[in-house]
Symmetry: C2
Subunit: 121 residues, 2 copies
DNA sequence: CTGATCTACAACCATTTGGTTGTACGATAC
DNA sequence: GTATCGTACAACCAAATGGTTGTAGATCAG
């Protein structure tokens, strides 16, 4: 019974909480997209948005805690880069949901097939 | 320039905000997994968790607003079912990030290849 | 050295979130 | 009918979020 392998009580998965929480903001998603494609300093990012430097700094911190982004000091700047692992972890969970969904669809298909068999001689 | 096609200012995408926000809670992820695999009434779901009925009711409402779940009245019960579309929308965004990432990796690969060519006669 | 830049972090504020309890109402069971 | 079940919704509360301003420490340019 594959279904019951799912967490019976929702084990508190702080990691996924932070991951999806981090993605639940348009500014942060934009930052992820940008630093995935290239490198930005924190102030370089801050220049892109209509909010204070400190606000962007906080967004980057949220992304960092969620393992979606890494920071590396270079001179007096802090370079922000995309972290592939975090994205893949999120994708992986959604893929699992997708699998459960397909298994369910297949099961429904089987039941219909059984009904057909019963109807046949 | 594929990179610059990305939202210059983060267009406020309420839909994705709600989607990821909804997934940023372990209880709600568990609900999604369960109703994706089968059918549950709201009270049926509430029986699974160590919190009040009203709390679960709110979680279901959040999932419904995020298009991850649908409710349908049946007798005096409200049946909750998984909504495939919402999940696919989230997967789609992460897939886009994945594509950007791969393009970047390919670009870096090209640069290295160019360097190699320059080094050769 | 002086001044400008980039960053970190604290303090504060308004709003949202995740939970509670309590009340009310339609549908079902007896 | 009455009692019970499943639901909806309001009011309330503590904590987290998303933003601000202000202050202070490194690092670089002149």
């Amino acid at each position: 019974m594959v279904v019951d392998q799912l967490s019976p009580a929702p084990e508190k998965d702080l990691e996924l909480d932070r991951l999806f929480q981090a993605l639940a903001d348009a500014t942060r998603r934009d930052i992820v997209a940008r630093v995935t494609a290239g490198e930005y300093s924190v102030s370089g990012l801050a220049a892109l948005y209509a909010m204070s430097f400190a606000a962007v700094q906080k967004h980057v911190a949220v992304l960092e805690r969620a393992s979606l982004v890494t920071k590396e000091k270079r001179g007096r700047e802090q370079i922000v880069r995309g972290n592939h692992d975090g994205l893949q972890k999120a994708r992986h969970l959604l893929d699992e949901f997708e699998m459960i969904w397909r298994q369910r669809a297949a099961r429904i298909g089987d039941i219909l097939a059984e009904d057909d068999e019963r109807d046949l001689p």
